[in-house]
Symmetry: C2
Subunit: 458 residues, 2 copies
Amino acid sequence: MTDRVTIVGGGLVGALLGVVLAKRGASVRIYERRSDMRKAEVAAGRSINLAMSDRGLRALEVAGIAHDIRAISIPMHGRVMHDVHGNQTYQPYGLQGQFINSVSRAELNKTLLTVAERHGVEIIFDARCLNIDLESASATFLLHTGESITCHGDVLFGADGAFSAVRSRMQITDKFDYSQTYLEHGYKELHIPAGDLGAFQLEQHALHIWPRHSFMMIALPNLDGSFTLTLFFAHKGATSFDAIQTKEEVEQFFAEQFPDAVPLMPTLVEDFLANPESSLVTVRCSPWVMSDRVALIGDAAHAIVPFYGQGMNCGFEDCRVLMECLDHTNEDWPSALQLYQRMRKPAGDAIADLALANFIEMRDKVADPRFLWRKKIESWLFSAYPTKFIPLYTLVTFSDDVPYNEAKRIGLAQDMLMEQLMDIGSVIEDWTSDEAKEAMNSIMSALPDIIIDSGFPD
Amino acid sequence: MTDRVTIVGGGLVGALLGVVLAKRGASVRIYERRSDMRKAEVAAGRSINLAMSDRGLRALEVAGIAHDIRAISIPMHGRVMHDVHGNQTYQPYGLQGQFINSVSRAELNKTLLTVAERHGVEIIFDARCLNIDLESASATFLLHTGESITCHGDVLFGADGAFSAVRSRMQITDKFDYSQTYLEHGYKELHIPAGDLGAFQLEQHALHIWPRHSFMMIALPNLDGSFTLTLFFAHKGATSFDAIQTKEEVEQFFAEQFPDAVPLMPTLVEDFLANPESSLVTVRCSPWVMSDRVALIGDAAHAIVPFYGQGMNCGFEDCRVLMECLDHTNEDWPSALQLYQRMRKPAGDAIADLALANFIEMRDKVADPRFLWRKKIESWLFSAYPTKFIPLYTLVTFSDDVPYNEAKRIGLAQDMLMEQLMDIGSVIEDWTSDEAKEAMNSIMSALPDIIIDSGFPD
């Protein structure tokens, strides 16, 4: 490939896309609105660490940097639930030792930028996108010098995030479907520092959750022994950010709701009052591809809420699938982009839905006895019938090739199946009894294997 | 009221809003992007005539110009359905002689502008909105002289249509929900000229429909004896605008589908090939009011598809309800605007849904025997139990005060009731029989009267 590719946005997805295209031989330029983060401080208010799962890692393998990133990640093998009395319960992610990885957003991005440059990608920082010409795939940027430049290329990608300038330009063309929908909940980041000698003050290899029904707090470990906490909370109302404004209100709220965390948070009040309250948006749009040569990727195409930990993973998978679409079409860009859209638009819609639904599960259901009972049965079904029952969480998080839309479809079918199994008298009485297992076995053995459609044409 | 009000947009709703606010004493300025239409030709591609129903007329009464507009309207008392063989069937809108009014969009708009000026409204034409400051309710416009001016006021309204500049400014603030969704169908306007001596070549006092399941054509009469036709048709696909490109294809398609209309359309081929193919969008957003002093109204707040003939009527009703909100709050703008939003946002969402659903009814169901049978039973129910059963079309079109969201709610309940009544054996056999009437009477007499919530606080 000798094409000239312009990428608007040098965040996680833009940088990875630059790497994988440059590795194919493309001449790639990335224009990034912010300064070079390798030289400057990271902007506050963005999430500090992320959960990387198998999909993200697979895309990093395509880029040849999975090993480097694994070295700066902390495996999390399960969830630790903290109840309102400070009691903890542990739920492993899988019986085969499945795990997700806590990784620093900033370190990951810096690594990707450096690898991109190593592959010959030219990165122009402090370049604000002023306009896009969709027909010619050219883009005009304002530089920090005050100068404006226009970049001409064969193909242009908008990898410029949830508030994409490229998408804004598309939005004012005829017949462009678009929606942005905010949750009533926002989030605020808080902090548990490392203990003595850099010791982790909570279980290191876990994602911690304080589920409180209408809100929740989570914590992910950092390499330096600290944890980054995120409080997901309503913007307004009786129990909300709006209602907690003073030092006393912060202290009282945390003492009531998160008594076990408070002693670990010496800067709680300062952090709470100083850190920004961020909002959570879902963005959907269609088409993702215009003029056969301009395309959206990552959050620019499908900004989702963070509750499945799949935002970055989905964006990275976009890059991996795009490479397969180029393979599939002998690098004919118009065909490759159409195929990419056909594969990824349903996937983006599905993970957006799943992420919204998982907020309910994380904040509410993980503390519900019936839900926990169901999880145990699901775990047994998965081990007994691994080709006939795969838990939704496994399909989304521990698969690196099941399209999200297929995961959603299979998950819905399995929801119905679980409701049926959980209605069997012997299962209600004791699901581990021989009678219950026999009843479930007779149903399961009659079911066909799960067939997953990769989405690629034959 | 002595407030200074800025209105962005001098279309139908902006002009009417100017009139009703000026009549209260406000100092009103309207900024309109286009030239003064009273001096220039109307832009092609916008609908030439509109169906004004009771809601629109009521708002015009508030403005004191209902009489003038009635004088330039043509009452339409029912629908004339044209089948593929040219056979016509007539469905009156109501047994009490209900009608809607075909009125020229351009004449209506010109009248409203003139009346606005007569009430002291200052109208600045050729003024393109460049920016809005939401906090100060000020707006900057580029004039055709190249000069840019900033207008400061107490309150600012975005009445600038489906592609509102005011709403675009709101959209980039945090937590603004927004969606634009295009139909797969678009439309093209066509023409039946007047006959000899200005004679109408189709029944004058009717809305004509050529329902064809996946598409349809409609016609509304004009004062000069002509009809404006609108073909609603898929943009792409086997049967679509895309598939009809040549003179021969146009002729063949119309000869097959609209044989009775073809002889009346001497410029069919030229019109079809020359007139623009327009798209149909539904826009929803929230909030409509920001900073207590900037508000959206009309299509800027709720662009809907035209299939219930309520776009203008809804925008005019926005103005009428806003005046009632000002009355209700002693002209306290922040309270009035909050009340306006609370009343009208659910109404806007409801008529958007109803308009989408009515496309199916108009193009498909009006030719369906079961639907026609149901309409007859509904008509009898309405005459026998006028406080217990009011057809949805009547609630939407022949009411001037039932909120659209209440109409939708009642319509859904009545849908279920009708399905039940139409399942009664004697009704299936002959709904006019004594036995059937008795069965229905026993159900209806047990039902309570319909209660409609005006939405206003007590």
